[in-house]
Symmetry: C2
Subunit: 407 residues, 2 copies
C-alpha cells in the first residue's frame, strides 16, 4: 500500500476522452483520501517542477463534469522522450526529488505507446534506486493501436466523429445528379482502426463509404482505379487512411511532398486523400474532391461516445487505485467479456508488453478484397461509439474548462 | 386564393437546415389540405417531369422529425440556371405543362441568390402567359449573403458548427508548450459572414480565434505578418475566409493554383488557409498548420442550431401559405424585432430585390483594424446559434431519412 500523494500528467496527441481519464484518476485519488497534483505538459512539468493543485478545482462536481466533456488535454501535453538513465541521470534525480518534495508516491501517466516508454523508464528507475513511487500508465489514443487492451480510451469518440461525419458528407455528396467521388482522409499512421470505423457510417439509407483503404494493405493506382470502376454508386465516398502505402511500401502522401519526422522518428503525414483525388480525377474526369478530417476527429467532443467517456473515467480511476495498491510498471487495459452483450473489465499489463509497440488491424477485420472491412470488425467496433453525453452549452457552444496557462 | 396542388424543390449548395424548410413547406401544404409534390434535383426535376409524392411519407410525423434533422437536400439539388425565355421558350412550356399535369398551382423554390433567378423567370413567365401558378422563393444558404432578410436559414447551424469547431481546435492547439499558429479556412465566397461567426468560439476560457479575416477587407502579407507579430497568444488561431483577397483584388487562393468557375461564373476557391500558412511558416518558422473545414460546415447537422431549424420550418410554412394566398414573384425573409429579446417575423420581398444580389458584411460589423469583428456583430449573430435539436441515433450515429435515388 502506498500512503503518499498522487501526481498525474497527460502526454501525446489530444483526444476527446483524455480529460475523462483525468477525471477518473482524480476520483481515484479522492476515493483514497489523498492529494493529487497535475504535472503541466506531461513529464516536462514533472521535470521542471511545474505542477497544479487539482484538489480544490475538482472537489466541485460541476467542474468535474465539464472536465469530462472538455476535449484535448487539460494539463497540456508533450512529445518528450526521456533519455536513457545512463546518459542523463540528473533528469531522473530531478523527477524523483520533485515527487519527494510533495510526498508524491503514486504517478499516473496518461498517454499512447510512446508515453508508455516514460512509464517503463520511471518505474525501472524507482525500483533500482529504491524510490517509494509507483508508476502506472493509463492508455489513450484515437489510433487504437496499443497492445494489451481490447481498445483504447479516445478511440470510440474519434470513431463516432468519423462515422457521423462520413454519414453527413455522404448526404452532401448525393445532392447533385452528376457522378462524383469524394475522398475522406482519416488519421492513423500505420494502423487503420479509425479509417476502418468509417464503415459505421453505413445505414439503411446509405452505403457510403463505398471503399475503405487501410495502411495494412498496399494499394496500387491500378487497383484503386479498378475498384472505383467496379463501384456502381453514383456519388462515391472513399475512406482512406493518412498512412496508405503503395505496394513497394511508400506512403501515398510521399508522392506529393517530402514528409518530415516527429521527435519519435515517425513520418509526419498529410495529403494521401489529395494524391488519391489526383489519380482519380485524371483517370475518370468526374467531379472529385478530397476532405481531410484533420484534428477535428480527435478534438470533436460535442458528439463524443458516452461509452468511451464512461470507460475512460473508469480506467483512470482503476489506474489510481492500482498505484495505491503498490503496483508499478503496469499499464491498464480493457478486456472484453465473451458474452452476448458488450461489457469490459479492467486489466493490468506489464509495461514492457505495451510500450513502443503498435497493434495494427488484424487480418480477420480486413476484407480479402482489400477495399473494405469485415462484419466481424463492425461487431467489434459498434459498441464503442454508443451513446452521447449531455453537453452543457454557454451562448450556444459547448462549455469547456481550462487551466490558466502562461502565455 | 389558389386551389390546386403544391410543388417544392431545393436548389444550390446543401445546408443543415434546407430540409427543415422542406418540412415547413410540407406542413403548409397539409395545413391547406393540398397535395404536395417534390421536384427531384431542383428545377431540373420540374423540367424533366421527375417528381416524388411527398404526401404519404410525411404524413408520418416520425419521418417529418427525421427530415428536420437530416442534412443536405432530401430532394437533391442542382446548379442549373434557366435560359432567358426568348432563347428557349420550350423549357418554360415544358415546366408549366408539367405543373398543369398534376394541377400544381403553387411552386415553392428553396435556394440561394442564384436560385432566386429561377423564381424571377418563372413568376414573370406565369404572369405574362396567364398561367395559374404562384411562384414563391424561400431562402437558404450558409453564406448569409441574401438581401431582404435579417439572416438566412442555414446560416445559424453553419455558424454554430464553425464556432464549436474553432473552440475545440483552440483546445487542441493549446496542449503543447511551444508557440504555434493554426489557420482555419471557412466558407464564404465574397461575404465573410460565416468566418465572422467564428468569433462566437471565444469564451471566458479561450480568446481564440485571435485574428479574423473577411473577404470584405483586403489583406496584404505585410499586414498579416504584423498582426501575428503583435498578437501575444502562445497558440494562435486565425480564422480566414476562403475568399480573402490581396489589396490589388486577387484571391489568396489564386496565388497557389488556378481557380475554376462554376455554372454561375463564380470563381471556385480553395486553399486560402494554405497560402496564409506558407506565408507565416516562412516568416516565423514556428509550428504552423492549416485546417479547411470544407463541406463539414454545411452538412454537420448533429449539432445544428435549434433556432435555425425552427425558423427554417417557420419560413418554409409561411412560403407555402403566401403562395396559397395568390402571392407570386416573392421571396420570404426574416425581420428582426427591435426589442430587448430576440424574435423575428416573416416578411415578403419582391424577388427582384433579392435575386442575383449579394449582401456582404457591413462596415459596422467589421473592426477598423481589419482583423476582427465588432461587439455589434456578436450581438447580431449570437441568438442565431442558440439551442440544439434532440438527435435520434441508430447504432450510435444520427439517423437520417433519404429518398431512394436512381444510381
Amino acid at each position: 500500500m502506498s500512503y503518499g500523494n498522487f501526481a498525474v500528467a497527460q502526454s501525446g496527441g489530444p483526444t476527446a476522452a483524455i480529460n475523462a481519464t483525468l477525471c477518473g484518476v482524480i476520483e481515484g485519488a479522492f476515493l483514497k483520501g489523498r492529494k493529487i497534483y497535475g504535472g503541466i505538459n506531461g513529464i516536462l512539468g514533472v521535470i521542471n517542477d511545474n505542477f497544479t493543485d487539482l484538489n480544490v478545482t475538482f472537489s466541485n462536481l460541476d467542474n468535474m463534469q465539464l472536465l469530462k466533456n472538455t476535449p484535448s488535454a487539460y494539463l497540456g501535453s508533450c512529445r518528450y522522450k526521456l533519455p536513457p538513465v545512463e546518459s542523463n541521470p540528473e533528469i531522473y534525480e530531478n523527477i524523483f526529488a520533485n515527487f519527494e518534495k510533495r510526498n508524491i508516491t503514486m504517478f499516473i501517466y496518461i498517454g499512447g505507446n510512446d508515453s508508455m516508454d516514460t512509464v517503463t523508464k520511471l518505474s525501472a528507475y524507482a525500483k533500482e534506486h529504491n524510490k517509494n513511487v509507483c508508476v502506472v500508465g493509463v492508455p489513450k489514443t484515437i489510433d487504437n493501436d496499443l497492445m494489451g487492451t481490447d481498445h483504447t480510451p479516445g478511440f470510440g469518440s474519434a470513431a463516432k466523429f468519423v462515422a457521423t461525419t462520413v454519414s453527413e458528407i455522404a448526404r452532401d455528396c448525393a445532392v447533385y445528379a452528376d457522378k462524383s467521388i469524394t475522398i475522406v482522409e482519416i488519421m492513423g499512421r500505420n494502423a487503420g482502426w479509425l479509417t476502418a470505423a468509417s464503415v459505421l457510417a453505413r445505414s439503411k439509407t446509405s452505403s457510403a463509404p463505398h471503399l475503405i483503404y487501410l495502411p495494412e494493405r498496399p494499394l496500387s493506382a491500378e487497383k484503386l482505379i479498378s475498384d472505383v470502376e467496379n463501384c456502381p454508386a453514383r456519388n462515391m465516398v472513399i475512406a482512406v487512411s493518412e498512412g496508405i502505402k503503395t505496394p513497394d511500401g511508400n506512403y501515398f502522401s510521399n508522392m506529393e511532398c517530402l514528409a518530415g519526422h516527429d521527435e519519435f522518428g515517425h513520418a509526419q503525414l498529410s495529403g494521401s486523400a489529395r494524391v488519391v483525388e489526383n489519380i482519380l480525377k485524371e483517370h475518370f474526369g468526374r467531379k472529385t474532391r478530397s476532405i481531410e478530417l484533420n484534428v477535428l476527429q480527435r478534438c470533436g467532443s460535442h458528439f463524443a461516445s458516452l461509452c468511451d467517456l464512461n470507460e475512460s473515467v473508469k480506467i483512470g480511476k482503476a489506474g489510481a487505485i492500482s498505484a495505491s495498491e503498490g503496483k508499478s510498471g503496469i499499464v491498464m487495459g480493457f478486456e472484453r467479456s465473451n458474452t452476448k452483450y458488450y461489457s469490459t473489465k479492467i486489466i493490468e499489463n506489464e509495461v514492457c508488453d505495451v510500450a513502443n509497440l503498435e497493434k495494427t488491424v488484424p487480418d480477420k477485420f480486413i476484407s480479402p478484397c482489400g477495399k473494405d472491412v469485415t462484419e466481424e470488425f463492425i461487431k467489434y467496433c459498434k459498441p464503442l461509439i454508443m451513446g452521447e453525453p449531455i453537453i452543457t452549452t454557454k451562448d450556444g457552444i459547448p462549455k469547456h474548462i481550462a487551466l490558466k496557462i502562461k502565455k
